[in-house]
């Protein structure tokens, strides 16, 4: 039982929740950018919460099922078609052996996740099936998918939500609001910079990728210079390099870095950031730590269930 890749699209990779426990040795976590789409799609299929999926970026794959299979395409609407029938995002479908599943350009969002019943069965390395292209690890030979790849699917029972079952997963519209807690180096910035950071709308630039979302806006002026002695980097940390223009560090971020980090995006808002594309607008909303932690706990409790 497998999925044969006929056309891989520009950047399609196998991902799961990412590899934990190896950042101390310099390994990025990798893993899905949009955890909401990922966990909800797996929940809908009654999969292991960490079952591996294909993450597609801006343009989707064309692929063929070698055996009957249930699947969900979650996140951005990439105009999916099962043979000649359009499919809706975030919805369970049943494919028959030989069925063609094809996606086009993103109509909404930036990333679409193809989850299959059982999950994709690529080798587990350091506790994860996620592709880390820079370190050439995980997924299919540590690289993005290419034409002719045959992705095995883990055997699974038939239990899943019925065909047509779906979940609500709106993509960002207008100016996306990302809540963020100041720090860990907010004290390296002037009071004016902090006000500017939390008030001006930023524009997502085309240099954004799985490592980081680079933003454009009026530059910040740090009072101590932007460099610190390198320290660890959390998912969602907003670092400010010498240009004064913030970068939100995402799934493939380096484990350590030497730029001051003005704020950290709430983990429950990172799935919104993951779906932004170049030219989209974003605004940071200052949030205190206690509220952020309460929001994180509430969010995660909803992730693993329907």
């Amino acid at each position: 039982m497998a999925l044969e890749i006929i056309n891989p699209g520009p950047l399609s990779t196998v991902q799961d929740g990412g590899g934990k426990g190896y950042m101390q040795a310099g390994f990025p976590r990798a893993g899905v950018m949009d955890d909401y789409s990922f966990y909800k799609a797996n929940a809908l299929l009654h999969n292991d919460p960490n079952a591996a999926v294909i993450e597609m970026t801006m343009l989707g794959v064309k692929a063929k099922f070698t055996a009957p299979c249930r699947f969900v395409a979650a996140g951005g609407d990439f105009g999916g078609m099962l043979n000649d029938t359009p499919i809706r995002p975030n919805t369970v479908y049943q494919a028959a052996a030989g069925d063609l599943l094809s996606f086009g350009a993103a109509k909404s969002g930036c990333r679409c996740y193809l989850a299959v019943k059982g999950g994709f069965d690529v080798p587990m390395i350091m506790g994860s099936r996620s592709t880390d292209i820079k370190c050439r690890l995980g997924g299919v030979d540590g690289r993005k998918l290419q034409k002719g790849d045959l992705l095995p699917i883990c055997p699974a029972d038939t239990d899943a939500s019925p065909n047509g079952a779906s979940f609500h997963n709106p993509m960002p519209q207008g100016v996306a609001r990302l809540r963020a807690v100041p720090g860990p180096q907010d004290d390296a910035f002037t009071a004016d910079d902090l006000v500017l950071f939390f008030s001006q709308p930023y524009t997502v630039t085309a240099e954004s990728d799985r490592m980081g979302m680079k933003l454009d806006g009026a530059p910040l002026q740090s009072k101590n210079g932007m460099d610190i002695i390198s320290d660890g980097i959390a998912f969602g940390a907003v670092q400010v390099p010498r240009s004064g223009k913030p970068i939100v560090l995402m799934a493939d971020r380096q484990t350590v870095g030497g730029y001051a980090k003005i704020a950290t995006v709430l983990t429950c808002d990172l799935h919104i950031a993951a779906q932004l594309r170049p030219a989209d607008r974003v605004q940071f909303v200052k949030t205190d730590l206690a509220a952020a932690q309460a929001a994180a706990v509430a969010y995660r409790k909803t992730l693993y269930s329907l």
Partner: protein, 241 residues
């Protein structure tokens, strides 16, 4: 005793504990022992502990450990000044073939220092290097303690591909390239051993706080060790401290 660290929240799922604002072996030893003590507590919900020069960052699941319990554990880990764990380190003897095709920039380093290539090798291989932290690339060690006379600026034109195992000098730093990568360091030698192998457990043999010593080897020894590494017969010499 006065608290010598600061706890800096990094959003809702990570926190950095920072000891001072300089790079020094003493502060790095504080980091290593506090991070080790926290790891030894084996608390549920702690996903990653990243030790760096003067801080460590903890990534956690706020559903599995509440912030009060985490703060309590952090304070406990950072409390003891007497470092019980400071003895738990390993010395790794890394064989290195210096010069010729293994180290095409050895002459450059020698010319910059105004000494012979052989003297560069002697000064590089007689020191002990402590690993301050791992990062940048998987298993890339940031090392302390290089002989200052060997400081050499990075190449003006970085190489597009530095081979795995290359030993180089970049400014005040020396290190080993764990994977093939672009880079601007002066390459003085190459090791046939693989400190990083994704198929081994753990994937990187050393950790922050451990010590590296470079052992000069001949071309013949390089070939022999490389063959042994390939068939899994080579064991890197280590020593517990």
């Amino acid at each position: 005793m006065k608290k010598d660290y600061r706890i800096l929240p990094c959003g809702d799922s990570a926190v950095t504990v920072q000891f001072g604002d300089v790079i020094s072996p003493e502060i790095n030893a504080r980091v290593a022992s506090a991070a080790a003590r926290l790891a030894d507590m084996r608390l549920d919900g702690i996903e990653d502990i990243i030790p760096t020069y003067r801080s460590f960052t903890v990534c956690y699941d706020p559903c599995a450990i509440d912030s009060g319990a985490l703060l309590h554990a952090l304070r406990k880990a950072c409390k003891a000044k007497k470092d019980m764990n400071s003895g738990k380190k390993t010395v790794f003897y890394i064989p290195v073939a210096y010069g010729s095709e293994f180290g095409p920039d050895l002459h450059n380093v020698a010319a910059h220092a105004g000494i012979t290539p052989l003297e560069v090798v002697r000064r590089h291989a007689t020191r002990e290097y402590m690993i301050y932290m791992l990062g940048f690339l998987p298993g890339f060690p940031y090392l302390s303690g290089m002989d200052p006379s060997l400081e050499t600026p990075r190449l003006e034109n970085p190489r597009t591909a530095i081979p795995v195992g290359a030993v180089g000098i970049g400014g005040k730093q020396t290190g080993i390239y764990p994977i093939a990568s672009p880079g601007g360091w002066n390459l003085i030698g190459r090791t046939p051993v693989r400190p990083y192998d994704p198929q081994q457990a753990p994937p990187v043999i050393y950790k922050a706080g451990d010590i590296i010593r470079f052992v000069p080897i001949t071309r013949a020894e390089y070939t022999r060790i490389a063959a042994e590494v390939k068939n899994g017969a080579y064991k890197i010499k280590t020593e517990a401290r």
